[in-house]
Each structure stands twice: as structure tokens, then as C-alpha cells.
Symmetry: C2
Subunit: 201 residues, 2 copies
């Protein structure tokens, strides 16, 4: 029915490739874009082109950046001896939002998933080992997700780093702030029970 408007059909198809955008949403977005002033749409098109041209991965930590090394690798006041390993740049940003971490980062760009053909060489794991060898890192905090793949990656890294003079740590498991026991999964709950601690009063 949009046969006579091929450019609109194509925009709907392109928007529909984005994650979480189905055909209905893509159509709604396309009609919105059609009704926007031309400048707004140009700004979006330019932002798309710019991001692909300007953003690269930091040569040290593989976080996204426009200047190499990135902000976190350049900062003089961060602890060189403490390295936090995350799956994705978004995870790094989440930890930064938390505000409690002042070491350096290393972004793997994924987690081990043999079924999907993602082995250690598809991730920035060789580069991580190089970094541990080369620099004075004393603790590697593995902050991969608490999923099957994230846990497997953490276990793999802890074995790989066993022969190096570093502590390999993991974020604490347990019941999240505001967590309601009734709705928690049984694994989290039984784990929290096993790792219960004395109340200091």
C-alpha cells in the first residue's frame, strides 16, 4: 500500500532492523520523521554518520572513545593496580554511575559462548593477558554479567590468570537493594543464605 512511496517503505525497513523496533513502531517513527522539520532529520542522519566515523576503541582498554587513549586510561588519579573487566562499554558506564570504582577498565566486547562460536580469541582476552603481563596490575575484578556466559567467562579468566601474581575477584552475589524475597529466584536466595553474614552492631 506504500508502493507509491518507496523511500518511505525503505525507511520503515531500515528502522525495523533496530533492536526492539517492530514493523508498527518503525511505521510510526517513519511518519514522525516525515512530519519533522528537515533540519531535525538531517541532524539525526549526520549523528549516525559521525558516530561511525569518529568513535573507535581505546587501544588500552577497548572502551568506546573519540580520543586514544580514552578518558579512563588517561585519568592520572585512577588506581593502576586494580583492573575491572566488563563485557560491554554499557557495563563500564553502569559501574561508573555507581561511583564506587576508581581503578582501570578492560572491555571484552562479549562473553564466552561456545554454542555461538564465541571463543577467547573473539573477545579481548589475549589483550587482557598481555596487559596483566606488561603492567603492575595486582587485582583483576571480573565484572561480567551473572548469566551462564558471564559466569563461564569469569571462571575461564580466573583459571587463565592463576599463574600470574594477581588476585582475581568477582562482584558480590546476593539480594539487591529493595529486593522482595517473595519474588526472588531460588538460586539467588539459596546463595544469599549460604553467604549470610553477622550483623555488626
Amino acid at each position: 500500500m506504500l508502493d507509491s512511496v518507496p523511500s518511505l517503505t525503505r525507511l520503515i525497513a531500515e528502522l525495523g532492523r533496530l533492536p526492539g523496533v517492530g514493523r508498527k513502531t518503525a511505521t510510526r517513527l517513519a511518519f514522525f520523521i516525515l512530519q519533522q522539520p528537515e533540519g531535525e532529520t538531517q541532524a539525526l542522519a549526520r549523528a549516525l554518520a559521525d558516530v561511525k566515523q569518529r568513535v573507535m576503541f581505546c587501544s588500552q582498554c577497548y572502551h568506546v572513545t573519540e580520543t586514544d587513549p580514552c578518558l579512563f586510561c588517561r585519568a592520572p588519579d585512577r588506581d593502576e593496580a586494580l583492573l575491572c573487566v566488563v563485557e560491554q562499554p554499557q557495563d563500564l558506564l553502569a559501574i561508573e554511575r555507581g561511583g564506587g570504582f576508581h581503578g582501570r577498565y578492560h572491555v571484552l566486547h562479549g562473553a564466552l559462548s561456545p554454542l555461538d562460536g564465541i571463543g577467547p580469541d573473539a573477545l579481548r582476552i589475549p589483550q587482557l593477558i598481555e596487559r596483566v603481563k606488561r603492567t603492575g596490575i595486582r587485582e583483576v575484578l571480573v565484572a561480567t554479567n551473572f548469566t551462564m556466559e558471564g559466569e563461564a567467562t569469569a571462571l575461564y579468566l580466573s583459571r587463565l590468570l592463576r599463574d600470574f601474581p594477581v588476585r582475581v575477584t568477582r562482584l558480590a552475589h546476593g539480594i539487591p537493594m529493595g529486593g522482595d524475597l517473595e519474588y526472588l529466584d531460588s538460586q539467588t536466595l539459596s546463595g544469599a543464605l549460604a553467604r549470610r553474614y553477622e550483623i555488626e552492631s
Copy 2:
């Protein structure tokens, strides 16, 4: 925290202007775009630019089109005497999907809304009157939405067209297919009760 990646920050801001896209979704989309092959992103940027350059409004019915007059105004087998008035191009497409209409269309590009400063001249109402004057239209089916604004527009049009030799009709109100009486609003229900009809058997 994305200070060192201004192009990414800008893309997130631009995506965040789209309807229904909040900051979290915009960030997710931006990181997805960052990880896509460059060709895919270029295709999206080009589709955005193309749609603004190529799509125009049909000079007869004001539907979106790349060729003037549009597909529906060019079709030789459509009833010239029956004109369906809709608020938006999307509404026209919805009616076409239904498949029961074989007349012509007229797209108003909105509905009357005095509180938002949208009067008859902000819509394609003068052009509609011209069309009714000029051509052999015998029925104007007002298919504006069943909202306050859509109803007001329908009433306004019916008064405006009173002096012309045309029937002014409206889509039937009632209970939609699959409608569950328990969850219907009382206005629809009382209206459907008032307009009840004899079962033909």
C-alpha cells in the same frame, strides 16, 4: 560519563527525540548502531535523507507520495463520487488494509483542536471544500478518529458541507470484533445499545 565520546552522546540525544524512545532505549540503539557494519548505518542515514527529499504530498488528496498525483488519485477504477476524509496518511493505510473502500481519499493532516491553536485553515479543509465544489462528489465519508478532536472535526465538516449536494456520512460506532463487554467503556456500550438492530434470520 560519555564526555569523551561526544558523537555518541549526540546520537543518543537525537534518537531520544523520536516518539516513545527514552534515554535508555536511545542508549541501547546507539550502542547497537555502533556495533553494526558501517554499510547498515549508511543505509539508515541515506533512507532518512531520501525520505525527506523524495516524499511530498499529493496535490489532490494530500496523501504522502513520490509521484504527483498519488497512486489512489491516479487509479482509474476508483469511485470518483465517494470521498473518504481521514486525519492522517496512516489512517488512509488502515482503511486500505481493511479493503472495503473503493472511493477516493482526502487527508486533512490533523483534526480541529482550538486549544492547540489548530483551526480549519491549519488543516486541508479549504482544499476539501474546493474539491467538493469542483468535482462530482456525491458522498463525503468523514473517517476522522472517534476522539474529541475527530468528532468535532466531523461535526464541523458536516455543517460546512450542508449547503452542498453531498451526503456526509460517518463510520459506524459500536462494539469492535472480538470486543469483550466487560472491558468496554460505558459510552461505546450505551451507544451500541441505542443503535441495536434486528437480527436477520
